[in-house]
Subunit: 356 residues, 2 copies
């Protein structure tokens, strides 16, 4: 698969996607990256329809018709379980006491919404060139609406089975999400985390397993990483963590500080954790993860874990602490730099040329 | 770090090491690979001094002075715990009953020995060009004996901290063992498995962290994998799993069958498990791992878990089953081919040249 093919598919100069990072970036990042010749992404999982419309309006105004990507989660919304919610608040009770928070005043709620008819209606106003999904695909009727305006459809796969499942449903490209990647694991056919593979193992096996172009994600931090992914047969790359220190990122001050290496170990210790949302996601190890264990049964089903954490996070962040924040990061944060996203995009683009 | 440097260091034509795989290969594999211009390895963790002497005699006779590597584990031998041994045998009791094995007749024992004065004495007779260690380094006096005949010393690192620890102790090269790798994880500073990284994240961070040449291991299955590792800054590569179907490998018939894709899923499901030895090691998921859970507290400390499994393994293998065998494999078995090790070495070597 020639690298030009995925750029042609996406309509970009470069076969490079800025990974959608819900809660860590909005339209400003997408605009900067799309204007630099790659594919900027707007994560929509945490946006209301009105917020989505405002962000898409901003992107279209600032990019002058250049392609961009909108990203959605495709989870099943669980029936809330009062028992699990009570158990979860019980586990967090010592922290509520420490911060003087009255748990009775905490609203329940999902915090993250799956792709829906409402979201499709907003997209129909803007007709984005690319729509990417995480946790599988939406229902057929919703997917048909996306295809109706000619959008290219991308989705993450974390196993060979998932890649074949997606290829059989006609996605235009598959994102091979290696275990190194930050944020939520995109698995959707099996919750067994032992099935999750490092990029070095996952990527070439997906390339061999499906005829669809495969985009590499997970651990790619710089132009050398881009070169390595292309050597393994990728048709393009998706990079997230490296963009987190760009001024366009909207991460919290404690998140920025720890990624800058200003506090803590120079080399970050990340882990998969389900404490912040209910699904495993990779973030920098912090107090909550250490004290409760990063993965376990105590957190309710995705995305129900978020609400009970929210006031702890807000209080801690107001004191400059990331002890209760999801500090999403991949395992390779060595590419993080406080430079504009356009400049970082150009640095990554050097990986598509022969080494000088 | 130019790729020529590690070949120069090792005294080989190619900057390629055949990974030592205890229980899966002996001198025949090492001979074939060293004669093909790479560095063949003899794993010694499961060899008595006499067996080691016989294997080294065979290698020296067949390689005519070409360099080869001998590999040792550097674990602390635990004080046997009668309670943990009893708990372990209790957990296995249903299987003993199923196979008609009398547990009273099972000998306890370690099965794997760390590098020792006895081993050093054998090596002094042969003076191998390269000695590699797993689980850290031996005591200073033992290491001094290895250095006395001019051997180059290599050791695995799985974190930045471990790489710095090894560099400070003067190792000649560091093997960056990514999480994709088959067999035992080489970690020795922290048992926390969340610290283990995929090759895409680990390798470039080690290259940046230390001045010592870094050899990539984990997920490298073919010439493209070699190219990718070199793009990420490796000074050389170490490949294990891809050699497992070579006729020189000594794996069991069930192990060979499942790797050949003749039974089970075409794409292998591996997991880290401590059931077979007491330390986490990557192998193909089988019945014992599924039924007891691949990782847990039930197995005694390394290497004490092995003895109680041995009769189950023997009985099952005699019936053609790998249900109780350690089926070591990395996450990327796509490079396994039933071709001579020399031929596989030449195929991998193509990755050191520019793509044609």
């Amino acid at each position: 698969m020639a690298s030009s093919s995925i750029a042609q598919l996406l309509g970009t100069q470069l076969p490079l996607i800025q990974a959608p990072m819900a809660g860590a970036q909005g339209s400003a990042m997408a605009v900067a990256v799309s204007n630099a010749g790659a594919l900027g992404s707007l994560p929509c999982a945490m946006l209301t329809p009105d917020a989505m419309r405002a962000e898409l309006t901003a992107i279209q105004a600032a990019t002058g018709g250049k392609p961009y990507n909108v990203n959605f989660f495709c989870h099943h919304v669980p029936v809330p379980s009062p028992q699990r919610e009570a158990d979860w608040r019980q586990a967090l009770a010592p922290y509520y006491a420490e911060f003087g928070i009255d748990p009775a005043g905490i609203a329940a709620g999902a915090g993250r919404n799956p792709f829906s008819a409402e979201a499709a209606a907003v997209l129909e106003e803007f007709k984005p060139a690319v729509v990417s999904f995480h946790f599988g695909l939406p229902a057929d009727d919703l997917l048909a609406r996306v295809r109706a305006w000619g959008a290219k459809v991308l989705c993450s796969a974390t196993t060979v089975d998932e890649a074949r499942w997606l290829a059989a449903r006609g996605v235009d490209a598959i994102i091979a999400q290696g275990l190194e990647a930050g944020g939520h694991r995109g698995h959707f056919l099996s919750p067994d985390l032992t099935r999750q593979m490092g990029t070095f193992a996952l990527l070439p096996q997906l390339v061999k397993a499906v005829d669809v172009p495969v985009i590499a994600a997970g651990g790619i931090a710089d132009a050398d990483g881009v070169r390595a992914a292309m050597a393994l047969g990728a048709a393009g790359v998706q990079v997230g963590t490296a963009y987190l220190l760009c001024p366009e990122a909207t991460i919290s001050a404690p998140h920025r500080l720890v990624l800058s290496g200003k506090i803590g170990a120079a080399h970050l210790h990340t882990a998969l954790t389900n404490l912040f949302t209910g699904r495993p996601a990779r973030g920098i190890m912090n107090r909550l993860m250490r004290e409760l264990g990063p993965l376990g049964d105590v957190a309710p089903e995705f995305p129900m874990a978020t609400a009970a954490i929210a006031p702890l996070r807000a209080k801690a962040e107001s004191q400059g602490s990331g002890d209760f924040s999801p500090l999403w990061s991949g395992q390779n944060a060595s590419g993080c730099k406080p430079i504009p996203a356009a400049e970082l995009t150009r640095e990554l683009a050097a990986g598509f040329s022969a080494r000088s």
